[in-house]
Chain length 591, copies 2
Amino acid sequence: MPVYNAPVKDMQFVLHDVLNVSESDIPGYADLEMDFTNAVLEEAGKLTSEVLAPLNVVGDQEGCRLENGIVYTPTGFKEAFEQVKEGGWTGLDMPEEYGGQNMPYVLGTAVGEMFSGSNQAFTMYQGLTHGAAAAILAHGTDDQKNTYLPNMVSCEWTGTMNLTEPHCGTDLGLMRTKAEPQADGSYKVTGQKIFISAGDHDMADNVIHLVLAKIPGGPDGIKGVSLFIVPKFNVNEDGSLGARNGVSVGAIEKKMGIHGNSTCVLNYDDATGYLLGEEHKGMRAMFTMMNEARLGVGMQGLSAAEAAYQNAVEYAKDRLQGRDVTGVKNPDGPADPLIVHPDIRRSLMDQKSFIEGARAFILWGASLIDQAHRAQDKDADGLVSLMTPVIKGFLTDEGYDMTVQAQQVYGGHGYIEEHGMSQFTRDARIAMIYEGANGVQALDLVGRKLAQDGGKHVMAFFDLVKTFCKENGDDEALKDFIEPLKAASKDLQAAGMYFMQNGMKNPNNALSGSYDFMHMFGHVCLGLMWARMAKAATSALAAGTSDAAFYETKLTTGRYYMARRLPATALHLSRIQSGADTVMALDAQAF
Amino acid sequence: MPVYNAPVKDMQFVLHDVLNVSESDIPGYADLEMDFTNAVLEEAGKLTSEVLAPLNVVGDQEGCRLENGIVYTPTGFKEAFEQVKEGGWTGLDMPEEYGGQNMPYVLGTAVGEMFSGSNQAFTMYQGLTHGAAAAILAHGTDDQKNTYLPNMVSCEWTGTMNLTEPHCGTDLGLMRTKAEPQADGSYKVTGQKIFISAGDHDMADNVIHLVLAKIPGGPDGIKGVSLFIVPKFNVNEDGSLGARNGVSVGAIEKKMGIHGNSTCVLNYDDATGYLLGEEHKGMRAMFTMMNEARLGVGMQGLSAAEAAYQNAVEYAKDRLQGRDVTGVKNPDGPADPLIVHPDIRRSLMDQKSFIEGARAFILWGASLIDQAHRAQDKDADGLVSLMTPVIKGFLTDEGYDMTVQAQQVYGGHGYIEEHGMSQFTRDARIAMIYEGANGVQALDLVGRKLAQDGGKHVMAFFDLVKTFCKENGDDEALKDFIEPLKAASKDLQAAGMYFMQNGMKNPNNALSGSYDFMHMFGHVCLGLMWARMAKAATSALAAGTSDAAFYETKLTTGRYYMARRLPATALHLSRIQSGADTVMALDAQAF
């Protein structure tokens, strides 16, 4: 069975050595002292490795089942969910007035990585609840907040997000679900929603569905979509549960992975719903939460890669196969461990250098969200909005590739289900799709985010890189980092310039390069993160740390990224600069 | 349910326009006239699309089951297997004296692509039989050939290859299975073999296992391994089946994909075996077939990509979502089809340009095998041996990525099992692992094949590229092809040079770059194929073909590859030239 060990030390390094969280003036960050974050992370690490990780394979093998309209989760999920609730983990970064602990999102994100890494399918139940609660928190009336949030923060009730319908996913303007206004101010919601994660289950007393639907007579397309709260059980005035609402589970989808999560077809039939936010402003309400939701999915790319990597490393150390060509390393054994072989090293270094760079990127993004929300910093909000499609798209693509690499280390043993390596790839695959398929992330980045606020945020990003390079350009110890970062950043700027010069006359010149741009942006972000981590490591070494090996390893891992991964920007640039012609030339019937 | 349409026209283009097979002086090629190959391919296309393709999902969903020692294949497999046998497809390229049709391997390969593309798991039963029969043909005594081959060529009996044991896959020198010599010249084989594809089933009267084992007292390690024929049922003198032999199925593996194939744990317990070839020369006998076997697996990368692509194209044409940013394309519908969007195009062009390039590469490789075997051409043998790890490693890596891209076109509908897109990726994943994991292919390429015969074959490859570029360098119509090919080939040569200069002092400098080298070699091969296809297309256009659209599409698709895919060689070169330092620097415990 695969292991999961929470990467507490690496998280602490990012939080304290790189982001210096406890010295930040973001409200609430002063609490994030080393000992405190360590206690939280250690505790979460214990729960995730001891309780959630062993259930990961169980969830995959058993899946969820629908019997007589009731959805049953896999063996052990219910008990584990109780433990998670009892530990207060579900409301870690939610407001205290609704039972949360009001901790910064950056800490919630580190804890979230452990939850997702140990059991992605299980963690989605609380993840969706968190998203739905956050939407109610941002757009609900006081009455709605008081009715739903305390039970959602504690996960006594869970939540869902209902967007997709059979004929529309990305293009929600085509939506058919209707919400008819009633005399009492409520609505009757009717329609079918599909792909509803954590859509129904046996682990909570109620499920609070957030449902996008159209109020008849409203504007056409996406501008006529509103958001509704549709509880599985109606909630009485006194907070007790009333009658079953008109929503039922049509089916549980058979999926490639995340079998432990009940992905449902939900049928709404005159279900009572309550408008959340304003009429016809449903997309806006849903999208308020988008940065966090997409960052959360990007994190799944990272967490899956971390979990798969941990097991690949163990296997590479244990499995004896072949001999080191430069000299026998295990003379007493019949063969040397896999890890002596250069190509296994290459694979493990690809994984390790991605994972650690991605973790820094995610936590930096989370700290920007804190800065935006807790310090009302609009620039931080703009910057993290710009980077959100990169976090989501790049990290889930790369994270998936890393699970495939980790699986490959096992050879044939990675292909059979016994070792759990197949599950990591099958589970990780969904993250490239949900919360907006990665092609849509690339479109969002190039089509919207680049030009947002007059291009202010992308300028701010380049300034950040430039300033870092200028401030540290003379540091001989950082030479291996600054030069590659400059080159990669220059590639990214050249791509942006190409879009500006050529996208005006033909938007396809920009959009044909959007996917490459998202990836090169991701590489530059990870390059920046590695440069910042290298600076933190050299500082610690210069200060005479007692843990020199740890910081030396950071530098070596970072050098690998800069030498072997970051130069991908040049390839992406050359593709982008080849323009739209070869991409768009064929008639549809020629495919 | 996914569709499969045999790509007959594209195959004919490669066979006739590019390879000019019927004008070749390879013995047997004169028969390969346009009408003849068309008849064969059309017939195979009918069988595969109508009979095998519909069973692909059935095989995935039902899998194989073991009951009371008997392995049952999925519903419909047995009947389909009868149809395949009746059509004579199993012996297409086998000798006539054993019931085959003695057609060139190049045609067998084209047909094989259809079989694998329509149903990979099903096709493996005959594929393994073909491999085992080929080994008996090459190394068996006349008696062995007469005993086994007629029934194996017709697939009345099927075959298996038994290499892997629980503790050894790549490093077969660690093998523990024993073969004790008996007084009558036979052996008693005892041991456990795992991951045995088509290991047992209910579709044939007998299964002929080829088993690697050690004869006690022989040399240590890989030099003491011999190959044995171990039939499931002993064969009497008169050819009738005798008693059950001492081989039993321990389990059917639960795998990520190819569920329709019975991947078995086989337990040998004093099973009667017959030496195939010489004592202690088992690896040599097994590896005689390696070029074909690995080319066959490389073909699975291509065929999976083709099948997934066909469905992605259909979906992209049908699914209405969003609007073309340059102007509405489907004004009467609620939205435009996905295929109008540049990033969907990019994905489809990635797939299309890979698939067509890969097909040309595979068929060229198959024609070299024919040249080697039918015309006893040692240079052809050397060249195809050099390219075999590239065909296997590069095409299965890329083929897998293409199935992932095809799945992505479906969004959430690609993640659920309903549309079959998940199966394409799950099935394709194995091809990166079996017949030597792709890391081992890279090692074979850089550690053995490059230097083989004094580097003669790699020189011959570069000469081929150079000659083509020289001969066609003045052709304005080929400008988009020749220049990128030259640049990519230069990158590849520079990488080879780097290995020569730095691999001597430290082999890790070469081996750390082996995977990148395999991929850059693959790109150069596909670049060469596209240049040759472009030349064929321009010739056809110049000659006033009546099918100009077909040839124009070839040129456009090729230009895409040259502009967007081939430049990857520069990235691979830069990684290789960064050397082994960052790859090998960490202590094993630092991972």
